[in-house]
């Protein structure tokens, strides 16, 4: 039997990098192609995060390999456009990350309040 080192469940335990979090968030409501992802990420982060094309496709390749997103051919065949969408696993990971961040912001807010008193 082939010994698989990669543990699918282990993804839940690790924190996502900001570009990956933004890509998954961008795909949470609808599938998007590369340029639409760049524009949406720029908009979401108030132009603070501007991913380069190289960074975007490197991250997309890793997300595809981890089965967190999937790639499909868009119906408009006039331009050879591939779109990306979140898989169930990707959605589950994004929800875990949101819970983790919510918990951290709650702790941070409580500590700031404490120090103000």
């Amino acid at each position: 039997m082939r010994h698989v080192v990669h543990d699918p469940d282990a993804q839940e335990g690790r924190a996502l990098t900001e570009p990956v979090f933004l890509i998954l968030t961008s795909l949470a409501d609808q599938p998007r192609h590369g340029y639409a992802l760049l524009q949406d990420i720029e908009r979401m982060s108030n132009q603070r995060v501007m991913l380069s094309t190289g960074t975007l496709y490197g991250a997309l390749r890793r997300l595809l390999e981890d089965a967190l997103i999937e790639r499909f051919q868009q119906e408009d065949k006039s331009r050879d456009k591939q779109a990306y969408k979140l898989t169930l696993e990707g959605r589950r990971l994004l929800q875990c990350e949101i819970r983790r961040m919510r918990q951290l912001t709650r702790i941070a807010s409580a500590r700031i309040k404490e120090s103000e008193i």
Partner: protein, 146 residues
């Protein structure tokens, strides 16, 4: 800028180029057009960021290729033809793949209670997939997808 970018992209691993290069160039073109409209300074910073990004990516992708344990740019990176299979079947196939991967991982690490759990999940998912295959009158082999 476009030609220099293209030349650097040619140095990427062939699997990566085959899967992503045309799409990357198309996205780059669209992004460049958007930035040109914002003025020269904006376009210059964009060009510097893009060239830095493509060089950094070159090293990352070769490293990923050399260190990949289960293949680099696998079939998961290929676009799925949405009309091939019903979405429900595709989801169940993915679930089956994950159950098998988790079971193999658990066995490899001698975690037998967990392996049993995933084995049960695999059996249930496989039965569900068979039922869906019959419903949709599909002849695709289940083993082929696992």
């Amino acid at each position: 800028m476009h030609n220099l970018y293209k030349s650097i992209l040619r140095l990427y691993p062939v699997e990566y180029r085959a899967a992503f290069a045309p799409e990357i160039l198309q996205t780059l073109e669209q992004a460049a057009a958007g930035r040109r409209m914002r003025g020269r300074f904006s376009f210059l910073t964009f060009a510097i960021c893009e060239l830095t990004g493509v060089v950094t990516g070159l090293f990352s992708e070769w490293t990923a290729k050399w260190t990949a344990r289960e293949g680099y740019v696998t079939s998961r990176c290929s676009p799925r033809n949405v009309s091939d299979l019903p979405a429900e079947v595709v989801e169940i196939q993915d679930r089956l793949r994950r159950a098998l991967a988790s079971m193999e991982f658990a066995i490899a690490h001698h975690d037998f209670p967990r392996a049993r759990f995933y084995s049960n999940e695999e059996r249930v998912t496989r039965a569900l997939l068979q039922r869906l295959m019959r419903e949709y009158k599909l002849e695709t082999s289940i083993d082929g997808c696992a």
